[in-house]
Amino acid sequence: MSKSDPNAPKRLALIASKGTLDWAYPPFILASAAGAMGWEVGVFFTFYGLTLLKPQLTAAVTPIGNPAMPMKMPFGPEGFQNINWPIPQLIMTNVPGFNALATSLMKQTFENKGVASVEELRQMCIEMDVRMIGCQMTMDVFGFKREDFIKECEIGGAATFLEYASEADVQLFI
């Protein structure tokens, strides 16, 4: 319940600051799960997170400099799928198209396991009236225009988000 109104539903305020595929999931999953529980949700998309508000999502992922990422193949017999391949950083940085390959494999892995795509999760958030705020400053800095983003989002700044977050029960930075 918000600080000033004990009868209001719980509120979740998130900042989404990253635009890679692995970091696209947490804000939309948390927002839709909170929405499913009847909470009010607001997500502030800033810096690279702003790219998650484009109509066509092109988020990619890279294993370069990401030693925590498991490198498993989403196809083949079970024993093969369980192998965590040790690929040297030197190979990953020098083979053209490696990031595109890693992105495609990650999407396949998630699909195999039954996790919804980022597009589907975002659509569920829209259906649940999750407030999505695009950062005005980031837009100016990277030369984006209002038309570059989905119509369901609003544009605002830090003060807009902070006011919303000041009445939230859960405030998270992603």
């Binding site: 719980k10 839709s32 799960a33 929405g35 499913a36 529980m37 039954g114 919804a116 999760l121 569920m124």
Partner: protein, 79 residues
């Protein structure tokens, strides 16, 4: 254990978080207060999630059990 008669069945087999709670929430909204939804899930995270969801939304989780290797939940819409 007595049998619960459900009014609607929602099969979320093969789906992982957050889909079980999101789809349950959507389905419950289409039902009358007092009606019972039977939700089936293969997600091991579903049992604790469904308990949290029912506490948060005020809907009653009548039973959480396993049947044929899947997780089965009976939820009554309370409001």
């Amino acid at each position: 254990m007595d049998v619960i008669k459900e009014d609607q069945v929602l099969d979320c087999s093969g789906m992982l978080c957050p889909m079980p709670v999101v789809k349950t929430s959507k389905a419950i909204k289409t039902m009358e207060i007092g009606q019972v939804l039977k939700m089936i899930s293969t997600d091991p995270g579903a049992p604790p999630d469904m308990e949290a969801w029912s506490r948060q939304t005020g809907n009653e989780l009548l039973r959480s059990m396993q049947e044929d290797g899947k997780f089965v939940f009976y939820i009554r819409r309370s409001k």
